[in-house]
């Protein structure tokens, strides 16, 4: 198939799809409508279970089984990356040369690193109260560690980030989520049912039953997964050299 024929096919298919999509858009309920039956029920249930952030309640209580599926996709994707980006037999590790960074950038990185980490932990811990949660805070915490790469060099990042520990913690926090679900079964209700703990006082850190615990498990899992993921990419981009390149490398 020549590129020209393919472009025609794309235009034809895209045009048809566009017509269908526009027709569908015109028949959708108008944007901003007042009828949200599922939303109203979710808000009622969330308030009944003393969870201030309804979105966290949906994620970690009402649809916690769904979130387990998302977590499995995350875990699988990271596993796939680790396998795809491993060091092959015809490659070798070549420690990168230390890199020069102007002092202001280094100072900024050293100051913002702990601030960003604590902010990430704040976002995780307050997931069931204010906007935020394990997914967002985990990414922030993991990103903050990589300021070491930006403010110094890869060797400095590797010193504060033992990848094996993060791989183990990733698996442990994923199993913690499952164990919390199984605890529901053992106490006589259902998998991931929010009946294990008292619901607590509304709008405090301990409110919402198992929601804060599941939220924390997801937070740790996401943070470790992102660290492992970026470690593999950084290894490939910075350290791992191909055997063929040896002759040209100085």
């Amino acid at each position: 198939m020549t590129p020209r024929v393919r472009l025609w096919l794309v235009c034809l298919g895209g045009g048809g799809l566009a017509a269908l999509l526009v027709a569908a858009c015109l028949r959708l309920p108008a944007f901003g409508g007042l009828w949200h039956p599922y939303g109203d029920r979710a808000v009622r249930t969330s308030l009944a279970r003393h969870t201030a952030n309804t979105v966290a309640s949906v994620n970690f209580d009402q649809r916690a089984f769904d979130t387990m599926g998302e977590m499995t996709i995350l875990f699988g994707a990271v596993l796939g990356c680790v396998v795809l980006l491993r060091q092959a037999r015809d490659e070798h590790r070549d420690p990168p040369e230390p890199c020069e960074v102007v002092p202001p950038v280094r100072r900024y990185a050293l100051i913002v690193l702990p601030v960003a980490l604590v902010t990430g932990l704040y976002v995780i811990a307050h997931g069931q109260l204010s906007p935020g949660g394990g997914f967002q805070g985990g990414v922030v915490a993991a990103t903050s560690l990589h300021l070491m790469y930006l403010g110094a060099d890869y060797a400095a990042l590797e010193r504060i980030r033992p990848v094996e520990a993060y791989e183990v913690t990733d698996a442990l926090s994923a199993s913690a989520y499952l164990l919390l679900g199984l605890a529901g079964v053992l106490t006589g209700t259902a998998f991931l049912a929010n009946t294990l703990l008292p619901y607590g006082t509304f709008n405090t850190l301990s409110s919402g039953g198992t929601v804060p615990l599941l939220n924390a498990a997801i937070g740790v899992e996401v943070a470790c997964a992102v660290v492992v993921l970026l470690a593999r990419f950084l290894d490939q981009a910075v350290e791992i050299e191909e055997a063929k390149g040896e002759m040209s490398a100085p």
Partner: protein, 119 residues
């Protein structure tokens, strides 16, 4: 104005999706194609959130307002979208890892050249 606004978010979602598809089909670089796919994904987020929006509503988060004092938007679609954004990023990473692997094994990331290589 307001009748346009009733469909505009859906149309923007459709436009983003179609533009991403066009980029995917005509891309000459697999990394660029992965970026276009990320654009397609964001179209789905817009569609979901547009379905859940309520005029004059506010976020269904009651840490700083009293429950019931203001109308709130639909939390279910928000929960779907927020997990998908993070999981979508790791899936993007998986695709980029595949691209890196293809670049290693075949020495090119141009889909057309890859097809020629296979014969």
């Amino acid at each position: 104005m307001s009748s346009v606004l009733h469909v505009l978010p859906y149309l923007v979602a459709a436009w983003g999706f179609l533009a991403g598809c066009y980029g995917l089909a005509t891309s000459r670089n697999l990394i660029h194609a992965v970026g276009c796919l990320a654009g397609c994904q964001s179209a789905t987020y817009i569609l979901l959130l547009a379905v859940g929006y309520r005029d004059g509503g506010t976020a269904p988060v009651f840490s700083d307002i009293r429950p019931g004092s203001r109308p709130v938007v639909d939390p279910v679609v928000q929960a779907l979208t927020l997990t998908d954004i993070v999981v979508g990023a790791t899936v993007t990473a998986l695709l980029l890892a595949l691209t890196v692997q293809i670049a290693k094994r075949h020495g090119t990331v141009d889909p057309d050249e890859l097809r020629e290589l296979r014969g």
